[in-house]
Amino acid sequence: MSNTTSDDSLITTEVQADSNDDSAAPAAGTAVAARNLNVYYGDEQAIDDVTMEIPEERVTALIGPSGCGKSTFLRCINRMNDMIEICRVEGDVEFGGKNVYDADVDPVALRRKIGMVFQKPNPFPKSIRDNVAYGLKIQGFDGDIDERVEESLKGAALWDEVKDQLDSSGLELSGGQQQRLCIARAIAPDPEVILMDEPTSALDPVAASKIEDLIDDLAEEYTVIIVTHNMQQAARISDRTAVFLTGGELVEYDDTAKIFEDPEAQRVEDYITGKFG
């Protein structure tokens, strides 16, 4: 995709922009950790023995070519893979120090602590207010829902655009607004982690850049794990980057600056400079 245009200047500028964040930040705790994670779809292996720790309140990007298992990895964290009948998971995914695949973990309860934003904006065919309040309602939240809706919409940088039309349908918004509505919906129940599965790939560049700015802000409060096809995006917004390559293998996982500046593996360098993928 866009990596065909990659050149050295792009990478270095982005890395410079990002590296000062990293140096200033103190060492963070671990939000999510995978240990020897293997995932199979039927006989096909989608994730091959991945072990990684994802830091709290940082943006972690998962990049790699199509079919490399990065989305599968993301869906392992909130157990959305359970919905796929042929999917089989081995190994541990720890969230808050607890293996989410333990028998005593209720996936529904788990998902209430982990927000998710999908590739295609998928607001419910309900009013904007009801969309944002959805998570609160199903969780039986008994505080001031309207206040929380306003907070969440502000958090998703959408409040000013929709504050006069909270009762109109969420489907009447533009694509970029719909995606921010989905982000507002995801943060309304105040989760600890937000998973984003290529959240800007269905959007135009202006809308995409708004979402990118938003992700930066979100990382002050939440742990953000984002899958992206767009290497510049990963370089711009993430603190840590994991590179998955074909077969579901985690080839390299390090600070974003390091990955884009001086990757260890030749394959990673080939990938991020656009020699394949």
């Binding site: 909130n78 959305m80 919905m83 009948e85 042929i86 529904v108 309860a109 788990l110 998902r111 209430r112 602590k113 927000g115 998710m116 999908f118 295609k120 998928n122 607001p123 419910f124 065919p125 309900k126 959805y134 998570g135 309602k137 199903i138 969780q139 039986g140 008994d142 001031d144 349908s169 989905c182 919906r185 995801a186 129940p189």
Partner: protein, 588 residues
Amino acid sequence: MATDNANANGFGEVSRVRGIVFEYLSLGASVFGLVALGVLLVYVAIDAFDLANASPEWLLTYFLTLVVPFLAFCLYSASDPTVTRRALGALGGGLVAVAALFTAIEALVVPIPRLNWQLAYLFVVAAPVTAYLAYVGSGGRVGAVGFGLLGRLVGGAAVGLAVGTLFLVFDPLLWFLAYTLGVLPAVGLYAFGRRRSTPRARTAAAPVGLGGLVAAVFLREVIPTYPSDLIIYLWTVAVPVAVAGALLVADRRGRVAAAAVGGVPLAAATAGGFLAPGAGLPSPTVLLVLVSIGVPTAVYVSRVVDAGEGLAGLGLPLLLAAGAVLGALIVGALGFPAPDPWLDGSFLTAAPSRTPSDAGLYPAIVGSVIIIALVAVLSFALGVGTSVFLEEYTPGTGPLGTLTRILQVNIANLAAVPSVVYGLLGLGLFANLLGLGIGTAVTAALTLSLLILPITIISAQEAIRSVPDDLRRGSDAMGATRWQTTKNVVLPEAMPGILTGTILALGRAIGETAPLIMIGAATTVFRAPDSLFSRFSAMPMQIYTWAGFPQADFRYGVVAAGVITLLLILVGMNGTAILLRNRAERGS
């Protein structure tokens, strides 16, 4: 790339003959069916309303007092000179064309039975033009308001009559207890919980309501005295409807308007209910009809006045009523020979009879309405339940998935099973084995529900399947349980489709005769059923019976009146359902 002169004569030709032939054949096929049905309906209507004996003066009078003002109203609403010119052209040109053609056919080819050119003009030209202008007129603000008001008047009356009919069968005293002990406290708790946002009150609502219902069933036999029916309807139906109407208005227009919207229809209905016996009318029905007309109308009028647009449209019902009265006055004063329609008030309210002029459809109408109400509830609940289970809860793979697929195929097969077979099933299962009685309303309702269940299930499944998976995943990722996803996302989105399927299926159920014959439904009953277990007859049964009577008056007049009644009730039922569906569509 420069080409030579090879293309100087264009690019050659591609034959479209087959496509054009196909297009016209398709058009012909669809028009043939419609025209055949249209001709049948014209003759049935002529018989039912005895239009063959209407004098041309009579027709002309009502055409001028009723149809012309209505057309003028539509044209005024559309306020489009092109439409006006076209409509006048069609009406005038049609008059000449139909008269000439009709006379020519009668003179040269063959006499056309029971039709004259005036009637032909009414059906062939005036009716389509009226329909077209009504459609165009409803696009304008004035027309929309006028039709909206008319719809509420007619719909309100229909709903009031239907509710009144249901109370013939369902025990009003039990309903009184259930409402007072169960429904009212539950709704009150729920509303209180929402207003104060105390979830505990809201969750308590369901158990309290259920407890009240159970208590009502037990107390029904214990309590010896009850208020009169009129008081019960006033308390359990009229007051809540009026309060609901007032609440709808209260938000926007303040207390005075709300009190007027709720209070005026309530007062009118109460007065009507108490005065009705003097006029020889059943007072509870009068009360119900007045309330169900009055409150929606008042809400609508208040809303229109609030919006301040298309106020002239509010005059449409008045215009039509004045036209009817004026027409009657002119016809009476000048002594024009009027037709004597078979389908009149006494046909709808009298019991069947051996004499054609006394024959009525009332018991069969009540039977049909009750059965359809039960079938609608049963097939909707069972159909939606089954389809949700099949679509949302069963896995797609493994042994259970195979079982699901076998179930699916068999449900599709059940849709093709002839209705007599279902009749046999109803006779064996419900009437004999379960002992619900041969030819009772409840047996019929259960049998017909089974009959249309496959159609309901299949269409509901289609509707549920067409809900995008994105929405389900979105809801799942929010931490919704499967039930929460189904209830909050899937069902609301699928509801318009589910309702469409159910409407079509109900249309089939109301016209079924064969299964009713199999379960031993009476061909003719002389009293309306007064419980679910009493013998009943349904409209198609009664019509079929009349068609076999020797007197010609039965075969032409009474049967036609019955058919028109059946069709009108069917259209009314479908119209209500379609309104509900459109509301569901707009809501989403």
